[in-house]
Symmetry: D2
Subunit: 414 residues, 4 copies
């Protein structure tokens, strides 16, 4: 099994970035061959006492030396930042946690203590712009409510930093455009944190598609849902339109939408959508619960998507003339699985490296590499804008009760 | 869902160890309720601009502050150390990588550079005993071939350090006894690295058993195998008896054996075993390939185990009067899964937190805690000795072609 | 486990129909309790030689005595008739094979010989109306191409027989109406062969829904597809519009559509659809390949459906506020499986009786019972009309590129 | 996919047996190709009205004409006979139900009425030998408790009939020998009803093994269990040693044992076993509950088996140097499934025809064919004897607490 992530690591070393540390710490993975590999004729010649052995060439990727790692500053210390973003930074190959921004000074100090961030690197929302003078910070990771993404991204660019911004990029297309412009003016990288692009099962499915395992892709079915739990602080702001920009589609449906375009590698030409909210549920006064979307593509492909804040599903399926790829779950934090079906393979669980850590560290390392090697990230601001535009079109279609035609950048025509 | 690891973290904070950092960075986990939780009557009151929010109380466990973490020194820089042990130390809650021991100075320097270990903390097998003078090192992790475990464990104790030793503990019972004695004389902790005890699916299965989900356990079936690949340096020493102590049973069958006793919570009273090697396969000149073992327990429980270096399986099944727990895979690095079957549940995939990282960091953090709080680790030297004794009894039974009776410590009677 | 089919058998015996033969030949089923049932205090008292034992009361349903079975006549001897319909008639509880209608006299004679049908009961398409004088025939099963359903159904009613008609009921709503009228004028039963209504997994899922296992159903996702194989004679006529009435939606998509309404227990108020055909594929000159449909219901529920003749999927999923029921496959000849997910159950494979034979014999026995006991079949002509009307609306929506509003009987409004 | 059962049907027609009725009513099966088959250049030429079409050549096997079918007489009308044997006879290709034998005259009359057996063909255990004068009866199917198999098999041979005998063949090796001798003296066929040999998933697994899909088979793991339910009359006699001959091993463990030898295609040279009964459970006063068995084969293969009357499992796994075949469930009435794992395939669910009906009708049709074409059945008396001998050796090994050596016919050496 060759893992796509290993591939990217090989690419990495080919570019010379980590030439001294080639390889991957990937580990052996789930599946290995039952086949009896070619065996040597003699037993290995190893003495009985401790000896130094050569460097394991094949599967080792070590982190950058500490002094070469980029300094990341996390803006917003909610549950996602504390449970996923900060641990991923400390576990990445290329980063160190260099700064924290929070309106709760006590919380920030507590986090800083445990992660070894000096007090001087703690900022609040007023002092945030002072990071411009902080050379230890190279990148800012925006983990705020959607409605605040634009402001803090632009302020980070104005401070001369690179930006990783959580999905969805912003509440409106206009905000997205302003963020992209700020990135260009500052000559700094802007990346949207679409972690599924760095999740090994999704990467493997895309590679199989490119290699023809599914034939011509005619249909994608994407259903991503999760129950919103207002008793958890992390979910509270998601029911407020100004902060969240919308409901399930902005938060979780975006995975089905973005994944569909990831696998089809084209933008839709038209869509039609329905929205349905359960009556008498306070959660859905300002934002939507259930969304269904039908999409048409220039290639003739179609897609059926759904999104919900009251039910539970996480599946993306790619259907082609020669076979099917099913990710189920597709974009969970853990446990993602890829199945292939086809005339030759029956139904097969495709062996893929685990994804739980990789998807988070992968996206973080990707932006670091993009900065160090100066290339455009795979999930740039333009992708974030496209998805926000499409979600706005979904809302418009549901409101109008009709199809809407789309431009290549995701915005509505006419 | 309450995760067993979270439970241990709660225990942890109850003991006051990490009182200032209560919670867990565990993440949201696989399964969440489809049920509509109790909803408040009013929408949350959150302003539209960035504000500090309270500390997410429920699910956050932060690492110890850097200056309170224990210093770990890794002895042996093979593939397992580089791919699993060292990353786990850097990703743990309680440790820092403080030293490296290797006979390959260039390799050690390269690793040290990437992980930020000062040159002065690099040792070779001659200078190893100098760690006695190195206060930055609290714990030594032995990742050498089995035949070298005893020597370096004892030297580590003589240097006044605590020891984590890879499984199997040693090649012989006598070596195990000497290691335990050295631990006692040095008044330092000795733990055997049975990572499955810290793997969430295994922990969940044990908890279900204790809660009666399976009724009386009557039978355990354990089959753990992997194809040995002599083209990979990491596997070379495993075909040499002096270094490996035995074949598949020492390396991979020990998971089935140890897991069986973990779930039954008792030692066997007798066992009978068979060994079979493929003819003309150079790998099995000094060590065994295929082993089958039948075990009897005082409670009346029975067990069927198998182990192999040429086939591929990883399953432990607990069968009781009221239901069945199936771990499949049971002890992989990634992808472990727990199924429950019974009259009320049909067949159910039990939702459990991911295990890929946890099992490695969990065991490392466990020893750190045992040192800081001064308790005996859950997988002490006595457990390692018991398992080595049982494997020796397995070999004796297969050679004699008869049952062997066993003492409670795992050694053969008479 | 109580199986829904057993329930219906109990209902059956309660109505006194088969009082002399109460019980079911259903068999023991997949799952049984691991629990130790209440045990008697003494061993059973059974002599050592052969003795007559009481009738096994609980699970036995024997067929009607031969002279009480209804005579069925099969019209059309294609692959489906020979592989499924005729074997199911001979394996049913209530039927005997009484007649055959074919334009290929040699084929009919060969089938008659093997199944013991007298030569006098062989008809061709001209002599078909002579069944009016054949008292051995009670029911006619129409297994002709869709475009011929109306003509032969009406001729059967005119001959005074009851009719089972394959799905889809006919090519047009007008034909459906004429068939229903002929049924009423002849005072004979008309049933459409929706076998999934008699398939145990589908029945179980509906019962779980009614019992509240899924909470409020908000969304149904139905995807039914199969690759059309022009090299097989059975598929040839399906590419001709006059005979087939349409493409994948008429043949296989109807399972997703009918199943959605079966589980939601309501008719849609509006739908919107897209159709896409692969260019240069001769199969899709007259009929469609890929269809996607979005449906809205008065209750607020939504549905996403798809259908195809070039890909392969068979799944119906019911998503509710408390849990999810997934049939996958949902309507295969064999191997259908039901999964339940929810906060209490994790993911559970629901134990259900096998479906491979039951779905075919079940629908046949259902019509026999409806005739003997004089009740309206569960899948009457009105249901067939509704589905044909909805498929016509799907085609209209795709052609117009807009939503269509629907009447309760499935026809388009306005 | 070519199904092994279809193969045997092809063999059948090649032998000229059913030349007039070549083909199989097998149906289309689960999996079909997603691949776009070679398409013709023009649309099929079929008129719009009803026409006779050619006989579907490829997949049709019709039953023998009624007057050519063999007459089967069922001895013992318990639940298994009523739920499985009699329906299978009426659904077979080659049989008609010709007689019934029971000690309960009322039960026999009731069954006879529903299945159309004339009163004159009802026998009791005294009048049984009168079947010698009943030319309508060709074959006798013995469905009595194990302890009565020998007596009624021998009486059937003395009456000049062929015999199908349920497994296990008898309680003792001596009885088995007497049955075989009676068969030879009467020049009539004797077959043991090992239905798994006619179950499509088992057949497919054997074919894959023969084709090398698993490489060299080194290990078979077989675990077959079911909870014995004394509240069901069908299970009552199974706790009495004289009638049952033993406990779980005789009833359900025999599937694991027979299956292991089926796949290995060799007899074991030695075995060792343990037995464990739950204390204070009345069911296990005369017969055993839990059995574990370890087997050695001359080829070097090993096997681990288990059997139980209190737990629930049904799995046979074939492990080879190149891959693994897993049947799970392996020998259920319904739902059997075959998985393949290997370096090339990952984990694959192998598409196989459904087994629920086929395994029962298949074995019945096999004996009919063996009679008509005069060949030895695949599961002859010698196989039944071998398995009874091995089970006796298992009991002896558990009692002695030691290995037992075995002869090629399954009996103990020395």
């Amino acid at each position: 099994m060759t893992d796509p992530s290993e591939k990217s690591f090989l690419d990495l070393s080919r570019r010379g970035f980590l030439a001294a540390a080639a390889g991957s710490v990937a580990g052996a993975g789930l599946a290995s061959s039952g086949a009896q590999a070619q065996q040597p004729e003699n037993l290995p010649n190893i003495p009985d006492d401790a000896v130094g052995r050569p460097f394991p060439e094949a599967d080792l990727q070590m982190p950058l030396p500490p002094d070469q790692r980029l300094g990341w500053c996390v803006v917003g210390l909610g549950a996602f930042a504390l449970n996923h973003v900060i641990p991923a930074i400390t576990r990445s190959q290329t980063c160190r946690l260099a700064g924290l921004v929070s309106g709760n000074a006590e919380k920030a100090r507590r986090v800083a203590t445990h992660y070894g961030v000096p007090d001087a690197r703690i900022y609040d929302y007023e002092s945030f712009d002072d990071i411009a003078n902080d050379d230890s910070i190279d990148v800012v990771y925006i983990v705020l409510p959607n409605g605040l993404h634009a402001e803090y991204t632009i302020r980070a660019f104005e401070a001369g930093k690179h930006v990783m911004c959580e999905k969805p990029m912003a509440n409106t297309v206009e905000e997205c455009r302003a963020m992209i412009q700020a990135s260009q003016e500052a000559d700094r990288k802007l990346m949207i944190a679409y972690r599924a692009h760095f999740e090994p099962h999704n990467q493997r499915a895309l590679r199989m598609k490119k290699e023809g395992a599914f034939g011509d892709i005619r249909l994608v079915i994407g259903d991503t849902m999760r129950p919103l739990d207002l008793s958890r602080p992390r979910d509270e702001w998601r029911v407020l339109r100004d902060l969240a920009g919308g409901g399930s589609m902005m938060d979780i449906g975006i995975y089905a939408l973005n994944g569909t375009l990831y696998f089809l590698e084209e933008s839709p030409v038209a869509l039609v959508a329905s929205i349905s909210n359960p009556p008498d549920d306070i959660r859905f006064r300002q934002v939507e619960d259930l969304v269904t979307v039908q999409l048409r593509f220039g290639s003739g492909a179609l897609a059926n998507l759904s999104s919900s804040y009251t039910m539970n599903e996480n599946r993306i399926q790619i259907l082609g003339s020669e076979g099917t790829g099913l990710l189920n779950p597709a974009t969970s934090y853990v446990g993602n699985t890829l199945y292939e079906t086809g005339s030759d393979v029956g139904t097969r669980k495709v062996p893929v490296q685990d994804s739980s850590l990789r998807q988070f560290t992968g996206e973080i390392d990707h932006l670091s590499r993009a900065i160090i090697e100066n290339f455009t990230p795979d999930t740039p601001g333009e992708m974030g804008l496209r998805d926000v535009a499409l979600i706005r079109a979904i809302y418009a279609s549901a409101e109008r009760g009709s199809w809407v035609e789309l431009n290549p950048d995701g915005t509505m025509r006419g």
